[in-house]
């Protein structure tokens, strides 16, 4: 596998501007001759489809929900970062760049991250122009809040539903293009295969989720913005439909999968309450602006939170990381919560919880003040737990939230398959081994609005793309493979539901490849998962038929892919003999329990290449070079 990052030469701060100037353009009249396929209508997909449509390309956009507005991005709560320095507190492009590189534990590509920090400013301007109602202060200017891993206030927000407002902004831009006829939107459609012609991505195979019809679509390039794979754990904060299928199908056709083991476990989620549970709910990190995290200092303290006096509480984040306190980055805050609970200090059922306490903030700004900032989050908490968080502290516990790994892409966001671009959470590019809060929304929109429109034009203008027809062999073969697979699920007629397999896989992943990992556990998982997969293919029970809406059939395909992907994740985690960011190998820690990186041996992107079913994937490496920042041990003390 050739991994050429195509990072342009020159000074870090000038690379993107220079590159934009040197890239080829396509003349406006010619753009409509190019068909572009976009899979996904989240922040990354919708922004890309709308922008390319606006430029005049002929775009087809697909999503599996019943409307593009329902993509998982809608659920993002806390905010979006941008180096605007509106608060005058010392922010700059370079600082956002540095914080992101450091937050990612020095495992991201410098040039990509710098570009992200640069365009972050345009994103806010663009969204405001669309009518996105960001929070404002009394002077009518944009307000900011702080997020983890930063000492400046650079997070723009729209109450506790920033993702919703940003996605509806992108959705409206998409609607404008649909009305102008440059974008054709296909909802309730699932991409199940990518089609390569002469080694280039030239089309996709789509299943209509309502009629079961399989259709083929061709184009000059395929953009995948299909989100993250956190649901491999079954329980996560992701929407139920999030899956790895599009990425995995592309991987099996040759796309490298980068750093699959880098998973973000978010520290502030509502704890698990029973085995009926279908998902976990995030309580936005923004709450840590005002909430204080603590556990009782004595083991086995069963008093209620009120009865425990100040002196007998351990505000462990403030104690261990005085300069960042409750705003320590996610990986660190999650591990600290786990440590406290492992030490028997946890609160609530099963001792799997810590307090997030607003008593001080409520004293300071009143219940009303808190309600204005976080009303919908408090409401959500109350709905789920039937407890009033204005009166008693919230109980929280870490949960799977985001996946930093994804398909490998070069500086142009193109995978190693020419013509296949990957945007948003689905690629691996900007967050290294740990993502900072409010940076995923930024990345999705940066990729879609401001990066891919340039790099895609350059690709199309530079390549010789022969005409293809959807009746050509590569299309019909891929379509047949999809049909066969669908029929296979229906014909097994076994005894176990799709969900039961998914839950079992999720448990293995959480136990062995979750917040802390070790060699023995990972090796055990690598034995267990193939067995489960084998059982799945013999004993899964999918009723009904292909020709009607069949939700078990949809899920069967996704879980089948998770059952292959989970094994690769464990393999990646096993090979990476170091701890970095969200990847914590128990064997590699400092005396005080912090992650211990090994830059000598692991300062690279681990990119896996599919070698055929039943064969071990092969590891390729893209070395990471740092020219502008010095590799240092992360410290938030």
């Amino acid at each position: 596998m050739i991994l050429d990052s195509k990072v342009p030469s020159g000074d870090l701060a000038d690379k993107w501007e220079d590159h934009k100037f040197h890239m080829k353009l396509i003349n406006p009249a010619n753009r409509r001759k190019h068909d572009i396929i976009v899979i996904g209508s989240g922040l990354a997909g919708a922004s890309a489809a709308a922008t390319l449509g606006g430029l005049g390309y002929n775009v087809s956009c697909f999503c599996f929900q019943d409307s593009p507005r329902r993509a998982h991005s809608i659920a993002a709560q806390g905010g979006i970062n941008a180096a605007k320095n509106y608060q005058g507190d010392g922010d700059s492009v370079h600082r956002l760049f540095y914080d992101t590189i450091k937050g990612g534990d020095f495992r991201a590509r410098e040039a990509n991250v710098h570009r992200l920090a640069e365009v972050s400013r345009n994103i806010i301007d663009q969204c405001v122009a669309q009518g996105v109602p960001f929070a404002r202060d009394y002077g009518g200017l944009l307000d900011n809040r702080s997020f983890g891993g930063a000492q400046v206030s650079r997070t723009f927000y729209a109450r506790g539903q920033t993702g919703q407002q940003l996605l509806l902004g992108a959705y409206s831009a998409l609607n404008r293009e649909i009305s102008r006829g440059t974008v054709k939107m296909y909802s309730r459609k699932e991409m199940l295969e990518i089609v390569l012609v002469d080694g280039k991505a030239r089309g996709v195979i789509i299943r209509d989720l309502v009629t079961g019809e399989i259709t083929t679509h061709s184009g000059d390039a395929v953009i995948m913005a299909t989100g993250g794979y956190g649901n491999v754990f079954y329980l996560s904060t992701n929407a139920k439909g999030c899956n790895v299928t599009a990425s995995w199908r592309a991987h099996k056709k040759g796309a490298g999968f980068a750093n699959p083991c880098y998973t973000q476990i978010h520290p502030t989620c509502i704890p698990v309450s029973g085995d009926y549970q279908s998902k976990l709910t995030l309580m936005s990190e923004s709450l840590r602006n005002d909430g204080r995290v603590w556990v009782p200092s004595k083991k086995g303290d069963t008093r209620s939170a009120f009865e425990i006096p100040e002196a007998e509480r351990d505000y462990y984040l403030e104690r261990k990381y005085p300069s960042y306190g409750n705003l320590a980055p996610r990986d660190i805050a999650s591990r600290s919560a786990k440590e406290a609970c492992d030490a028997g200090l946890g609160v609530g059922p099963g001792g799997l919880g810590v307090y997030l306490d607003f008593a001080d903030a409520i004293k300071r700004v009143g219940e009303d003040g808190i309600k204005k900032k976080y009303g919908n989050l408090f409401h959500m908490y109350q709905k789920i737990t039937a407890e009033n968080p204005y009166k008693a502290p919230m109980r929280i516990y870490p949960a799977v939230h985001y996946t930093m790994g994804g398909l490998w892409v070069d500086y142009n966001l193109m995978s190693n398959i020419p013509g296949l671009f990957v945007l948003g959470e689905a690629n691996f590019s900007d967050h290294g081994a740990n993502r900072l809060g409010a940076s995923a929304l930024m990345q999705g929109l940066a990729d879609g609005y401001f990066v891919v429109p340039f790099t895609l034009a350059n690709y199309i203008a530079s390549e010789k793309l022969n005409k293809v027809k959807t009746t050509d062999a590569p299309f019909t073969e891929a379509a047949n493979a999809v049909k066969e697979r669908t029929q296979k699920f229906l014909s097994i007629k076994g005894g176990r539901s799709v969900d039961s397999f998914h839950k079992e896989l999720g448990q293995v992943m959480w136990d062995k490849c979750g917040m802390a990992r070790d060699k023995a556990g990972l090796e055990a998982a690598i034995v267990k998962i193939p067995k489960l997969r084998e059982e799945f293919w013999q004993n899964v029970k999918v009723l009904g038929e292909n020709e009607n809406l069949n939700q078990s059939l949809e899920r069967a395909g996704r879980v089948a892919d998770f059952l292959e992907f989970g094994e690769l994740m464990c393999q990646d985690a096993l090979h990476r003999e170091e701890s970095c960011g969200g990847h914590f190998r128990s064997e590699h820690q400092t005396e005080d329990g912090e992650a211990k990186r090994n830059d000598e041996q692991f300062c690279y992107v681990g990119v896996w290449e599919h070698k055929g079913d039943g064969k071990k994937a092969e590891l390729n490496k893209e070395p990471l070079e740092f020219t502008d920042v010095k590799l240092a041990t992360r410290s938030y003390k």
């Binding site: 606006g54 929900q65 301007d125 122009a129 009518g131 919703q164 407002q165 009305s179 929407a239 539901s497």
Partner: protein, 257 residues
Amino acid sequence: MDVTLHVWRQKNAKAKGAMEVIEGKDISEHSSFLEMLDTVNETLLSKGQEPIAFDHDCREGICGACSLVINGEPHGPEYGTTTCQLHMRSFKNGQHIFIEPWRAKAFPVIRDLVVDREAFDRIQQAGGFVSVNVGSPQDANCLPIAKQDADKAFDAAVCIGCGACVAACKNASPMLFVAAKVSQLALLPQGQPERESRVLAMVDQMKKEGFGNCSNQYECEAACPKEISVEHIARMNREYLRASFLEEAPKAGHGGD
């Protein structure tokens, strides 16, 4: 707890549907309504019966995918709550629960409890946007917006496009949904240039889709999980009148060069 469900089952858009009685046994009162359906579906499957189809995704009240008319009320008995946020503790042991899809001509049933809401997308496509190209707009803070206007616009912008307002209305009118977008953009400076054309186009599309008209019953407000106020319908009506009036006035012709 145990509950007896009466669920609308319909194989596809063409098939005839009917209510079916299904027992829900050993349900945790802490589970959500959709988790209750998951549990029931697992039991159905183990008995060789097809699971109940229903729309859902985020399961935290924001994507607008979930629907269901529960005991006659869209999104069930709790105020300001989507079905996915509803918990079984709101029901009693042994209770009979009637579960039906949204009913409206413009929302045809696809299967069981799943309906086709693409009409909503088409209404938005008719004008629910600000025509701005992606490129280099002015700095965001060059456009200050009074906090109270921003807040009011926000109250409308929280619509999740679920369709409960339509399901609650005896005329199957989507006025609250349409008004939420019209109102949001009419309140913001960015929305001004297309203020008239937007409201006319969106209302026009709403009629084309076969939705009914608003007769000020305000059932929509009571059903809306995001508590969007009918005040926005009033604003939309004013916007519509104003736009109709201005549209009739003679326009200056466009100049060429």
